[in-house]
């Protein structure tokens, strides 16, 4: 296992993380669609997190069991986001409709 843990590899991962951080800032600063920006930035952040987990936390060289344990929270959190989405959509719908009715009644 020790042969994988070379200083050269760690420095290579560090430069990837540094480059991705600079790229993230360059992507975040201009003004454009928040949805597109969020997709790109979350993708880059997941890439950085994967580099840290695979190489600094040695998951790349560990038993599969530890990888499954590490990956489970991500699956559950993605599931949580999908479960929240319909509810959030209905909240926006409910709050806008009464506001329109009030506007119509006033005159």
């Amino acid at each position: 296992m020790a042969e994988h843990h070379s200083d050269t590899l760690y420095m290579k991962i560090f430069y990837y993380l540094l480059a991705l951080t600079i790229l993230e800032i360059l992507v975040a600063l201009p003004e454009y669609s928040l949805f597109v920006k969020a997709i790109i930035l979350v993708g880059m952040a997941l890439g950085k997190a994967a580099l840290v987990a695979l190489y600094f936390m040695h998951l790349r060289f560990e038993r599969l069991t530890l990888g499954v344990i590490a990956f489970t929270p991500l699956v559950i959190c993605v599931f949580l986001v999908f479960m929240l989405t319909p509810d959030l959509g209905s909240v926006v719908h409910k709050t806008t409709t009464p506001a329109k009715q009030t506007m119509e009644k006033k005159p």
Binding site: T21, L41, L88, V91
Partner: protein, 207 residues
């Protein structure tokens, strides 16, 4: 414990090495980190949900600024590199470099906390970003910011204390090339703190 290891060895697949007693601590840390990841995941999912449903959410980088936190991100990434170098040093039985790199990791974490304290002080005292209200828009902007960065800051504080204990034990010669698992397990926690900050930086500051 050794009986359990022997039982597991009997059932392990042909391509997987059996868990040795030294691995139980690592397995325990990974299970803890999985639970902790779900805590952070829930906070970030709630943040996304609240922000999606709020029309007057301020642009985070206009209020929070990103240059200090970009430097803090870099600091945590560098401290992670120091941590792996410290572990690699003790695996070679290089005590001097082990102490140097773990000491630098502790210092990195401590400077990160100082930067966060300065950021909070500036936001509270000069910019008026309160926990329940602020002049920039949605009141939950401040609440979510302080809860998420505070929860992470507490993890960094825990990590600094944890690594300080490892460093102090290391200075008494407690670790060696044959006995480095405690350092590796502490390293897992520290890298996790770095990993979570990568996500927090993206969600809270950049998007």
């Amino acid at each position: 414990m050794s009986e359990a290891a022997a039982m597991h060895a009997g059932h392990a697949g042909a391509n997987e090495s059996p868990l040795t007693p030294e691995s139980w601590g690592k397995l325990g840390m990974w299970i803890f980190l999985a639970g902790d990841a779900m805590s952070f995941g829930t906070l970030l999912a709630a943040y996304g949900g609240v922000r999606y449903g709020t029309v007057d959410w301020p642009k985070p980088y206009d209020v929070l600024g990103i240059w200090l936190t970009a430097a803090m991100t870099l600091l945590l990434i560098v401290s992670s590199v120091w941590m792996v170098k410290g572990l690699a040093a003790i695996q070679r039985n290089d005590q001097a470099n082990f102490r140097k790199f773990i000491g630098l990791t502790v210092l990195g974490g401590f400077v990160f906390l100082l930067c966060q304290a300065y950021e909070w002080y500036k936001l509270i005292s000069h910019d008026g970003l309160g926990f329940v209200n602020n002049p920039y828009g949605a009141s939950l902007f401040g609440t979510t910011f302080y809860v998420i960065t505070g929860f992470h800051g507490m993890h960094v504080t825990g990590g600094v204390i944890y690594l300080l204990c490892i460093l102090l034990r290391g200075m008494t010669g407690a670790y060696s090339a044959d006995n480095y698992h405690a350092v590796e397990i502490a390293g897992l926690y520290w890298h996790f703190v770095d990993l979570v900050w990568i996500m927090v930086f993206t969600f809270v500051y950049l998007i």
